[in-house]
Amino acid sequence: MDRLWAWLDDRVGLEPVRHLMAQKTVPRHRHSIFYYLGGMALFLFIIQLGTGLLLLLYYEPGVSTAYESVRRISGEIPFGWLIRSIHRWSADIFIGVLAVHMFTAYQMKAYRRPREVTWLTGVALFGVALAFGFSGYLLPWDDIAYFATSVGTQVAGVFPLVGKALLQLMRGGEDVTGATLARFFALHVVVLPFAALGLLGLHLLLVQRHGMSVPPGVTEKGRPRPFFPDFLMHDLVGWTLALALLAALAALLPAGLGPKADPFASAPADIKPEWYFYAPFQQLKMIPAHIGPFEGEVLGAVGFAVLGLLFALVPFLDRRAAREESSRAFSIAGWVVFIYLVGLTCYAWLH
């Protein structure tokens, strides 16, 4: 083993890796449990890559084959239901973990200097995850998928100036058709994975370079914990539990498949998007048709976009945190938005 290491080190230069492994530590304080969220998101992302790759062995894009191939995966291929259900559940949980990871990083002010770029890559990764969810939802080509995509792309279409072009770009035409399915498939299996791996690489590199951020005003308890093997062992326990949870959810609540998409049928009565789009979905349902001179749906869609933009730019807005001072206004604003979004999500879920 030592000789193999020496051989590789000689040719590849592994010493920096050994150095990193020996030096990497994780601070200890009363909020340090939140440091596990990034690793958990990474684990779920790897599950998505693995199960997604397996599903690609049988999935056949195209209006006459997509639905049939998904039905075959769930019904005929050994353990196909398991792989597909884990892919669905892991996607849902992945986005939930990312959301909490982002919210806790926000509240711990981890975005402050010098970690602005780490923050921006994280927000971009969340956007990529949402795009993964949205594009993947259409691929089974069942009725819910079809109408959810019709509505979702229509929302993009209401944006002033760029909406029409955006709609055409997403749908590959006026309506949701086989052209849309082809685009979403390419996006889901080629474009987004490349984007995610690039952003993730940069994000992780920056985390190694700057180390974990300790919130301003928090005192550390004792020596930092070594990452190898202490922290990683704790990570492994969490990952094992996550895997068990995914297997249980997949077995008890496997991914379903509705009737095949029919553009000439009416939308199913209880149509809803995935849970992470509940908040904008509910917002668009509740907003009046007209507010002053503006159309309600335009205002709702633009409002969410502005909120996202402010969130991404927070390292440059929160000047107090940049000076290592407490910035209560940003903490409170974060809680208000969080409670608002969770409230809308729960409301949509219950109705």
Binding site: L54, L57, P78, F79, L82, I83
Partner: protein, 160 residues
């Protein structure tokens, strides 16, 4: 120094028996987890045989008027191509159209009165027997039924 800071080293005071038992238990769990992942994945990767996507029955291969004596045509029989031949002595025969050499699709050559595979010049006579070239076996034959001016071919009564 809290409990987490205690170094894990062979000098640890945990009794050796308990330690090796825990190691064994951990290894077993790791193996079990790995097996629970590998088993479904391996089975998933190999697809089950596709059920024949049709009832075993007759396929309308051609109208009698389509094929003069001394001609043939390739038609789909289920998921595979088959060849219907109207022989010069006015008999109807049907065979699989996949050459027994390397699975190219054969054709009828009226200049030779033979079934001929263009890929490697394999030749079959009009009973499906391999008579020249590389094909190692005769073509499997199907049953032909004439009903009025329609020619039906059934796969189930395959001979040869």
């Amino acid at each position: 120094m809290d409990e987490h800071d205690r170094p894990l080293s062979p000098a640890d005071p945990t009794p050796a028996g308990r330690r090796s038992f825990l190691d064994w238990l951990l290894g077993l769990s790791a193996f079990g987890t790995a097996a629970a992942i590998v088993y479904p994945v391996v089975h998933f990767v190999f697809p089950p045989p596709r059920p024949k996507g049709r009832a075993k029955g007759a396929v309308l291969a051609a109208q009698t008027s389509e094929l003069a004596p001394g001609s043939g045509k390739v038609f789909p029989l289920g998921t595979r191509p088959a060849i219907l031949v109207h022989t010069p002595d006015d008999k109807w025969r049907a065979f699989t159209a996949k050459c027994t050499h390397l699975s190219c699709t054969v054709t009828y050559r009226d200049d030779m009165n033979m079934i001929w595979c263009p890929c490697h010049d394999g030749r079959f006579d009009l009973t499906g027997k391999n008579v020249a070239g590389p094909p190692p076996r005769p073509l499997a034959e199907f049953t032909v039924v004439l009903k009025g001016d329609e020619v039906y071919v059934t796969e189930e009564a395959e001979r040869g």
